[in-house]
């Protein structure tokens, strides 16, 4: 046990990787899901244990050296309250969605490909967990590509339902690779300036470089600024921040239901985490926000994301696409939170990572039930389902209330912190944008809810409530999002720890 506990940070990434390889070579049909389920359940247990370990440490960090090579020569994994929280989000959501996936995926993916589907599923989770836990800038790139490559394939597997999944996937391949390449170029510039790849080590070596700026002989000024610019743009593509969100709507819409849920609730969250890590730990807030005023650009982008994302969501007729555009707006809230760079802002950002993952995950799962029972997710497919699928549609509605930010849902907690962070900085216009975004959310959620409960179906087909294996995970996620709206002490405590940790390292 002691051995496992000591090696937790490595095991959390290696277990899904090895299990994914095994899943891809086993011949028995039906075994794939069991392996994925066992692995994600173990991952959840490990990340809970890791979070407990981190919070019990005095300095709130757990360091792990790969093969005992000291950093910066070897790859070091370092866990702090921020990435322990994101690890918990990823492993919790992946476990619950895997529980759901069995029937949904079997109905959308050909039987012969199921084992490969779950292998890719595990690789995707490997990459996401790895990005979150790694303390090495180049390692982050490799894991980013592991998760992206498996995601492209998972999206393309939606082709059995709609061939547009293929064009969505190829579009995502091109844009995703450009994003990853930009990040890689950014790492090259920082390596030229500092000669290191370890995130904490680069941050340390950047200090004398920053100190030389403004003096007679500034060193590496252009190099570091160019490197940061490349990294920021590359990661913004990955997290689908507003003007760079082009790949997201189609990829979410045409992917298999479970894949949409997994991507919406984890992939963009991990992208946001990587951005926060680069700004706060790697470059330092004093450089990125203080000297370069990236925060102003981020606020502009996230404000535009909230307004344009919500506005486009209102105009969609496919409910899956509506949720995808709503995700773009929600990413805006997350980015706005950390752009404000005060304690409430970062707390809001981290809480919203958690709450939005639960809410949007639950809503995509509810839509997956509609896909499974009715066969489509256009607005007319949902007409009058309120009476036929009471629990699923109830869950969808509760999730929708969370998106709006109605009190007693978790969305309210995030927005409360976000608005108070805006007011604390004297940014009244941003607080206004958050409120306008909520009103727009009310419009698009109402459009769907109205159709669900008051729409009339011409074809009186018999639609039965979802099977228990799909219903339970949906209710777990939506129930959790309501629970954390009523009693937010757990999420605010975690997010507060993360915010404290990030702001303490401020130079």
């Amino acid at each position: 046990m002691e051995l496992i506990r000591h090696n937790l940070p490595a095991l959390i990434v290696v277990t899904p990787l090895v299990m994914g390889l095994l899943t891809s070579i086993i011949g028995r049909r039906g075994l794939g899901w069991w392996m994925a389920m066992a692995t994600t359940a173990a991952g959840l247990a490990m990340s809970v244990q890791l979070l407990v370990d981190v919070l019990s440490q005095g300095d709130r960090t757990v360091e792990y050296l790969m093969g005992n090579w000291p950093v910066p020569f070897g790859i070091g994994y370092s866990v702090d309250p921020l990435n322990a929280t994101v690890l918990l989000i990823v492993s919790l959501l992946s476990a619950v969605i895997t529980l759901y996936a069995r029937k949904s995926v079997a109905s959308e993916v050909p039987a012969g490909k199921l084992n490969f589907f779950y292998a890719l599923w595990l690789f995707c989770i490997t990459g996401l967990l790895g990005i979150t836990i790694t303390g090495d800038a180049f390692n982050l790139y490799v894991l980013l590509e592991i998760s992206s490559l498996s995601t492209y394939t998972l999206v393309a597997l939606g082709k059995e339902r709609n061939r547009r999944a293929l064009t969505a996937a190829v579009n995502y391949v091109v844009l995703g690779s450009i994003g990853a390449c930009f990040y890689l170029v950014g790492v090259a510039y920082l390596y030229m300036a500092t000669g290191s790849l370890n995130i904490a080590d680069i941050a340390e070596r950047l200090q004398p470089i920053y100190a030389s700026w403004g003096t007679e002989a500034p060193i590496y000024q252009k190099t570091v600024i160019t490197g940061f610019a490349f990294m920021a743009v590359g990661l913004s593509l990955k997290l689908a921040l507003f003007p760079l969100h082009g790949w997201l709507p189609n990829a979410y819409t045409y992917a298999p239901s479970s894949v949409s849920a997994l991507l919406a609730s984890t992939a963009t969250k991990v992208g946001a985490y990587a951005f926060i890590r680069v700004v706060f730990t790697l470059m330092g807030v004093g450089f990125a926000f203080g000297r370069l005023h990236t925060d102003v650009a981020l606020m502009l982008c996230s404000g535009a994301a909230i307004l344009v994302g919500s506005w486009l969501a209102i105009r969609q007729n496919n409910v899956k696409k509506l949720l995808a555009y709503s995700s773009i707006a929600q990413i805006g809230y997350i980015a706005l939170g950390f752009a404000l760079a005060n304690k409430d802002g970062i707390t809001a950002s981290v809480i919203h990572l958690f709450n939005h993952a639960l809410t949007k995950g639950g809503m995509f799962l509810a839509l997956g039930v509609v896909m499974y029972r009715v066969g489509g997710t256009r607005l007319q497919d949902l007409r009058g389902l309120g009476r036929k699928l009471p629990l699923t549609m109830g869950a969808f509605t509760a999730g929708g209330l969370g998106l709006i930010g109605v009190p007693l849902t978790s969305g309210f907690i995030s927005k409360w912190y976000l608005v108070s962070a805006c007011l604390e900085q004297g940014r009244y216009e941003l607080a206004g944008i958050v409120l306008v975004g909520s009103v727009l959310a009310l419009v698009y959620v109402w459009r769907v809810v109205e159709t669900i409960y008051f729409g009339k179906r011409e074809d009186e087909v018999t639609v039965r409530e979802a099977p228990a294996s799909m219903l339970v995970p949906t209710l777990i996620l939506v129930g959790a999002s309501i629970y954390f709206g009523v009693d937010s002490s757990f999420t605010t405590h975690l997010a507060g720890e993360a915010a404290d940790f990030l702001l303490k390292v401020k130079p």
Partner: protein, 123 residues
């Protein structure tokens, strides 16, 4: 002029990357798009490797005697780029596999043709 000649390796990287980037933007044929992506990635490989070069540096092999005086080029970027090459090949493989599927589903690999087909179906 001096800045061009002094840093000719970086200008070469910029040129290669921009050729690739132009192709990604401008070509509607998906295979050409993916090839452009590969060219773009190659530019990055050259960029990394040229950062590790030191004038007069030799390969990082320890020669017996006189090892202390020898100047080595930095081998780390080469090691990193081995990984990046693997990633690039995998990206190509995934992209081309998806394009094969697109060809089977649509009968064309031209982005504009596909958009018009989907538009006519009213999606």
């Amino acid at each position: 002029m001096q800045i061009v000649l002094d840093y000719y390796n970086y200008w070469a990287c910029i040129l290669i990357m921009m050729i690739g980037f132009y192709g990604i933007m401008a070509k509607s044929n998906l295979v050409k798009k993916v090839i452009s992506l590969a060219i773009f990635q190659t530019g990055i490989l050259v960029f990394y490797i040229s950062t590790g070069k030191i004038d007069g540096g030799t390969g990082p092999v320890r020669v017996a005697d006189g090892a202390a005086e020898a100047v080595y080029s930095n081998p780390l970027p080469h090691a990193l780029m081995l990984t990046a090459i693997v990633v690039g090949v995998s990206t190509m493989a995934v992209a081309l596999a998806i394009i094969v599927n697109i060809r089977q589903a649509y009968g064309t690999i031209d982005e504009i043709d596909i958009e018009t087909m989907e538009h006519e179906r009213g999606e």
